[in-house]
Symmetry: C2
């Protein structure tokens, strides 16, 4: 009843089930692949630069803006190297070349699982950071919403979850147009902004207190910390190479094109907004989200201002959505190989990986609540995971070229090797500068996950080994053992239910006994008398006195007793009745003895528990009958 | 694993299981029966008078104290009438003469169930009010604890629950001595107080603002409201007559003696403290708990002051404990007769009614949290239930004498009749004056409970009727129907588990089929090939193509198909394998297909689900083997 209601609710929220054939129809080309897979990278325009300023401004004041330009250039160079590197990965791994696959293929299981853990953590953070940043944009524009920041984030994650449970294609198209709208909006803002700068219309920025004059090592460390925050602009590139099979054929070609377009877009948007920031000098610590404040200045708070806010918010939601296709896909690959619970590898009714989607949503909600939906707090955990997987992926590719050679392998090895060196450098920078700001959580979490994944794999391997039939036994396996098939029927009282069980037992075996426990001798005597009236001489009744009023223990004792004469190889079927009730609350009116009995008996080898249902009729109907 | 841990925890908290024979040893005589059964009534000294003053003082100021004396006398008269009435009940109902039994016996099911509901509500309130009042005494003496009032209450209820799960006798003796200590403490306070009054040592009371001069109807209504609060002094008398079988033989005699001693104690303590209140004029609204404040005055805050606080606190805890023996006993009687879920009628390992104890504790905790552990708020809900059951019980006894006569029946009928009239009057007074202060909750709750109880009874009656074997069919019931016994084995892949199922199936039937669903034709072909290798010609394999990747629906369709040729009367056994794992977390690594399959199949008549366990070995052990 409750179950049916749940099914109906699910159908309403999630839509009708799709068949397997419909998988092909759910794939996308460049037009829709770009928004759904690269919005994570594109959207980081909204926070990467801003989080650099948040580190720099309190320390070096106005100097922050010129230093930001230098750091932005460094990050853009890193982006270009990564895109070239990843195009090579896509070519080699047309079935999805995430860091997990690449690392595992070329550097072994441990590297693969490490990359997998790092990426998993990162997908969760993508959702938490993007949603928190999206809501930050909104509350910067509409201050009264500030009090409900966390609540809004949680609702948004739940909506994304439902959307994604409905299936891939629908969500990609639903979410596709606003991605282009964002690109258009920011381009319009950059063009208008540059035009106004050229006309000398830049307002005098609010004065920012000069920080202590930083220099030498101190300045260098400060720059590295800002750089670490800026590196979050590069998250999301992985998504494209991980999701190659999601593209229409030729999928590798489509994926590679998407990667290049993506790089160009980031170049223009990130570069452009960094350029504007030097002139408009927004202080995110006092004024709110940088993009929103700049848009207000540039467009004088008109329609285009609201357009920028709306599309920025939307692209950040899309960024979170990237993780909703990336994470379940990654985790399903790992689950299929036995490194994660098998349930994560199963497609749901709408052909999405339901369990993965739910796991991602729940984890992200926990993070958002823990860190109060604050981007500056979450950012400390964010980039480390991405750069661990970048490093493993690039190193894996480098080793691949070195081993397998092929056309132009020297150039290819150099590209991936150079990528590996850069990302390794960035990884250490992030780990050290961000350790105290949350990276330590990830540094502890990833080894824990690796440990768990290896344990899971071990369990599955052990199960497979136990279930495997030896080749030489194969064709005689079923005939091999013939055992005595015996039946025990636990009886509480003599009624239609126990009579049905007796009747059934006789058809499946000729070695049947009934068994009962009694609290006192009087009850035992009465039961025996009633049983004798049934005239079933071929099924003896054994009544045991149970001082603790329990059934399982006396039953197991009985089976082991000389009286029952259990022989090695005997197979015992215990028949337990189960009432199937009409109304949901009726189940609270019956003992759960059956479930307890079933659970306890199943612990014992050579005991089969046969559950015999008795459908109870409607109360009124029964009582009406004469 | 988790289950075992829970069992161990329970054993540690609750103690070792007791056998049925030990029930007799758990009964008590007058010495221990008095404290455990009458502490509810005795302890009301701590709040009944005080709650009268809380109503009176804001309205009529100093006049409150003289009016309180009049009302206290009225309540003491009511007490005496009730005790005499209830002695007659105990004599007639030596097996426990709670209002439920008396009302049901003499006035039918509806009256009985009404009394039962009213009493149930009341037991819960006894716990909530007594605990809240107990904690109020403590925080009146130690102000810093005030902030933790609700938390302390919840912890105390949980401790009482654990104590009572440990069994009756232990708790009665553990809690017996402090009850006597309380009686001694209050007697000492009364004697000292009277001595000081006679020596003119009464301090001048803090000035209390004169209220508006009340007169006529307004004063009368005010007095009635105060009287309603005072009536809470009479709660708990029921407990003695309800628990007659808990006394040692001769149990009726012991119970009657306890009732008389109880009345004497209340007379002295309630009368005495009311008398003192007239001289010491404590204002509970500003000064805190009346008993505590008076004790401070009388004993000048010395040792005896702390002794009064400690024993008052303890007796109130004991009062709550009364409900822990009364409620489970009442509800178990009702459950045995089918008016409450059967689980409530079962004794636990320590011979207490575990489920009833837990139900009471949880309900009381909810109330305490809802009403913020404030006696003045809870008191509005309290007395109405008691007086509903008093009225029903007395009316029932009156009707009993009128119908069955016997020795001195006229006198006996008069006593119970007079009791009925007085309690009916009090019931209406409480219902009307307290309606807005919470009694409405109870007025709605009781009919709801009655409705539920009658529904439960109906269900059990319908079940019994469905299970009953007709007398004429009795000795041929088992032989009656002979049906085709057929077996279906759902197979996912060919492994040791499916081979075991095939082997087992052959021993229980010669009409066996294997069944599998495949996602595509390729998978189907592969499975069929592997199956053919097993050489089980007598068990055909049916493979169905399942576009929705589900098993249950195709299986049910198959059973209904012409191909399977299901005949009315066929009994189908479906064998489902179940992995039994070694470590608790391993269960998350396997699908719950089995549970889902079992639940869905059991909805269908003539399908027996046989669960075949496969004990998985330890992972390391398996992988070590060659």
């Amino acid at each position: 009843m409750i179950f049916t209601m749940f099914k109906r609710l699910k159908k309403f929220l999630v839509g009708k089930p799709l068949t397997n054939e419909q998988i092909e129809g759910e794939k996308f080309g460049i037009l829709w692949g770009l928004p759904i897979l690269s919005s994570d990278a594109i959207s980081s325009v909204a926070y990467a630069g801003q989080e650099m300023l948040i580190v720099l401004i309190p320390a070096i004041g106005m100097l922050a803006f010129s230093n930001m330009a230098i750091l932005s250039s460094a990050i853009i160079i890193l982006l270009i190297v990564l895109v070239i590197s990843y195009r090579q990965t896509i070519e080699c791994y047309p079935n999805g070349g995430g860091a997990y696959i690449v690392a595992k293929d070329n550097m072994g299981v441990l590297a693969g699982v490490t990359a997998g853990s790092a990426l998993s953590v990162d997908y969760v953070l993508t959702v938490a950071v993007s949603i928190s940043s999206g809501v930050e944009q909104i509350v910067s524009a509409f201050a009264p919403l500030h009090a409900f920041k966390v609540e809004i984030c949680v609702v948004l994650i739940i909506l994304l979850m439902i959307g994604n449970l409905r299936g891939i294609s629908e969500s990609s198209k639903m979410f596709g147009i606003p991605a282009y709208a964002f690109i258009f909006a920011i381009l319009a803002m950059i063009v208008t902004g540059v035009f106004r700068i050229m006309n000398g219309q830049v307002p005098s920025p609010p004065s920012i207190a000069e920080g202590t004059p930083y220099a030498g090592m101190a300045l260098f460390v400060l720059m590295l910390r800002a750089f670490s925050n800026g590196c979050t602009a590069l998250t999301g590139i992985e998504a494209v190479s991980n999701a190659v099979p999601n593209f229409k054929e030729p999928s590798a070609k489509h994926a590679k094109s998407v990667l290049v377009i993506l790089a160009l877009i980031i170049l223009v948007l990130f570069g452009g907004t960094s350029f504007l920031a030097q002139y408009f000098k927004v202080n995110p610590l006092t004024q709110g989200a940088v993009l929103v404040v700049m848009a207000k200045e540039i467009f004088n708070g008109g329609f285009m201002f609201y357009f920028v806010v709306a599309t920025t918010f939307t692209i950040l939601i899309l960024a979170a959505n990237t993780a909703f296709s990336g994470f379940p896909m990654l985790i399903s690959v790992m689950a299929k190989e036995g490194y994660a619970p098998r349930q994560l590898s199963m497609r749901g009714d709408r052909l999405s990986y339901d369990n993965g989607i739910v796991l991602l949503s729940v984890s992200a909600i926990i993070l958002v609540i823990m860190f109060n939906a604050t981007v500056s707090s979450l950012i400390g955990l964010y980039a480390i995971g991405v750069f661990i997987s970048f490093t493993l992926s690039q190193s894996g590719m480098f080793l691949k070229w070195m081993r397998h050679k092929g056309d132009h392998w020297q150039l290819k090895a150099f590209i991936n090797g150079f990528g590996a060196v850069l990302t390794t450098f960035a990884m250490f920078v992030i780990a050290f500068t961000k350790f105290h700001e949350g990276a330590w959580i990830v540094v502890i979490l990833i080894p824990t996950m690796i440990f768990g994944m290896l344990k899971v794999k071990k369990h599955y391997a052990a199960v497979v080994k136990q279930l495997r039939i030896k080749h030489e036994d194969y064709d005689t396996a079923v005939e091999k053992k013939v055992y005595r098939n015996r039946v025990i029927i636990p009886i509480e009282s003599i009624n239609k239910s126990s009579v049905r069980a007796l009747r059934y037992a006789k058809t499946i075996s000729d070695n049947v006994v009934a068994f009962s426990v009694a609290i006192d001798t009087e009850a035992a005597k009465e039961l025996q008398q009633r049983y004798d009236h049934l005239n079933v001489e071929d099924i003896p009744l054994f009544i045991k006195y149970s001082p603790f009023r329990q059934v399982v223990e006396p039953l197991l004792e009985f089976i082991e007793s000389a009286e029952y004469d259990y022989q090695k190889g005997d197979m015992i079927t215990v028949i337990v009745p189960q009432f199937v009730v009409k109304k949901w609350w009726h189940r609270f009116l019956h003992n759960n003895t059956r479930e307890f009995l079933e659970r306890e008996l199943l612990k014992h080898k050579h005991i089969v528990v046969s559950v015999m249902p008795l459908q109870l009729k409607d109360d009124d109907e029964v009582l009406k009958q004469v």
